[in-house]
Amino acid sequence: MASLTLKAITKRFGQILALHGVDLHVDHGEFCVLVGPSGCGKSTLLNIIAGLIQQDEGSVLIDGQSVDRLAPRERDVAMVFQNYALYPHMTVAQNLGFGLRMRDVPKQIIREQVLETARILGIEDLLDRKPRGLSGGQRQRVAMGRALVRRPRLFLLDEPLSNLDARLRASVRLELRHLHREIQSTIVYVTHDQVEAMTLGDKVVVMRRGKVHQIGWPETIYAHPADTFVATFIGSPEMNLYRGRLLHKDDRTHFQGAGFSLDIGGLQLNLGESELEVGIRPEDIAIGHGGTPALKAKIEMISDIGSEKYIHARLGQESMTIRAPREAAFQPGQVVPLTVDPDRVHIFHEGRRISWPAGSCSSSK
């Protein structure tokens, strides 16, 4: 168990800037998830922490000590790879014990630790098999076991679930959570799946194009996205985002979008009438009267996913997605009034969030 600190990590591959001054601190025993679209540099960052790639600038500290000059084997970290990267010429037991063997641990102790790890992961009966005889899920477990058996200071996981089918992924995700609670270790986990990020992470780091966009608790990131990228990347269905201007009228502020006007209460901003963006999550829109003057949208399509319904509607010249309970009985073509709570509206200026309503950025956990 250890803490991890990254200071202004920068990495170039030729002309491409893969990482751009990344700062991050992960506490003892924290589960930190790096999330972002592919090519955002999250895997590169993980490889830099492991020491497999050398950063151009910046520094990696484990427990406050710089590890920049240490080889991967000297950093005492373990890594689980997306494609598992098991040693195909060794049995499962040898795969698990390899790291200990390389560290000259006595054979007897290796045996015990391999057995114990296999028991935790439920792969005791596979110990004598070779990786080629295992299913995807079993290989994934062996890969986890290989990291677990050494009890390293830091676990690095590079999209470990992305090669599993959807059902298995959900169950392994839960197991991971349990496992983390049990062994209380520091984990850095890379994924492009926002559901994994939100469900697993104590701390979520949203990245794009080599830059960190936001670091925070999952609920903070969801409730107070720092910019339009985070706002649309986290959350499914995506947040509705509209471009427009603010108009002040009779002490109230209206957002004037393309073909609609939205009352957002008493917001006072010194931005004049410059262009900005307004975001509303699909679940923050209620169908029914309430707002003055009422917004009206025309329903175009309804996706029924069983547990709830997504209603795709047209608001002015913009499209909108609304989350509705499964009992909701609407028909395409219907025109419905909408209510939006002004406190749930996100406002972005030049892509960045404007703190609103005041004081709501403090989050508790």
Partner: protein, 282 residues
């Protein structure tokens, strides 16, 4: 249905016939060589075109004569020495070099990677005269170790190229896992790369062995003292000698050919691909 079956049967028959013809073409000279080497000179002179092999009349005298009276025991030792040393050196150097150009990043890596094959583009015959002159002036000619050096120069480019291609098929994550698990670069090569590259290494060993074992041109040019002759050089010496007895040449030829065959059969099972099965998601 019946038409389809008919077609399948015809194709099957054609395939078998084709294979038989091919085998006959390849195996016939070898067979004739074997049979002739088991006869006495008198038999060959009486019936030169006799292809039958009478097991009761197998005569190994030719082998005895070639081995002990014509110095082939010595030639075999020389050939084994040259080939084995060449194989060991070539495989070792190609492993390290091939790994370097595949995995390590250093200045001039691309250039080195491509220039490897460039060296191979020079035909041996172009090189042999200058090398002959050069080594003669330096006083290094007529040395068996010199031959090893030349064979190494000849086989290493292809060996490097083969291993480089093989290493490129190995997923780098396995090595990363090794590095994190506590390996140094060398132990990654030793404990992970080499076991996984057995097919590639076997092909390289086989290729190098065949070149070194069969090579004639350089052996012919560089070796003067009969004690230093390699097998192929010895066979030519024998064939060109005054008392041409066919069964002796045939016996000598069998001794040249057989080890390659044995080697191939030994290594053949390592040539199968797919050792990395199971490493990845599958």
């Amino acid at each position: 249905m019946s038409r389809e079956r008919l077609e399948k049967t015809i194709i099957q028959i054609l395939r078998v016939m084709g294979l038989l013809v091919f085998i006959a073409i390849v195996a016939f000279p070898f067979y004739w060589m074997m049979v002739s080497s088991f006869r006495s000179l008198g038999e060959i002179l009486l019936k030169p075109a006799n292809l039958g092999l009478d097991i009761r009349k197998i005569n190994l005298h030719a082998y005895y004569e070639v081995l002990f009276q014509h110095g082939f025991l010595r030639y075999i030792c020389n050939s084994v020495y040259v080939s084995v040393v060449t194989v060991v050196l070539s495989v070792t150097l190609a492993t390290v070099g091939g790994y370097a150009v595949t995995r390590l990043r250093f200045r001039g890596r691309e250039f080195m990677s491509y220039s490897i094959l460039l060296i191979y583009m020079f035909p041996a015959i172009v090189l042999v005269i200058p090398l002959y002159v050069m080594f003669s002036r330096m006083g290094f000619r007529d040395s068996i170790n010199l031959l090893i050096l030349v064979y190494l120069a000849q086989t290493l480019p292809v060996a490097l190229y083969m291993l480089r291609s093989y290493f490129q098929t190995l997923p780098p994550e396995i090595e990363h896992a090794g590095l994190i698990d506590g390996c140094s670069r060398f132990s990654v090569i030793w404990r992970i790369i080499i076991p996984l590259s057995a097919p590639g290494l076997a092909s390289v060993a086989l290729y190098t062995f065949m070149i070194a074992w069969n090579e004639f041109l350089f052996a012919f040019m560089f070796l003067d003292t009969p004690e230093k002759f390699t097998l192929s050089r010895g066979v030519v010496q024998l064939a060109g000698s005054v008392h041409l007895s066919k069964q002796l040449v045939m016996a000598a030829s069998v001794m040249v050919t057989l080890p390659i065959l044995v080697f191939f059969l030994l290594f053949e099972r390592y040539l199968v691909r797919g050792l990395t099965a199971g490493a990845m998601k599958g």
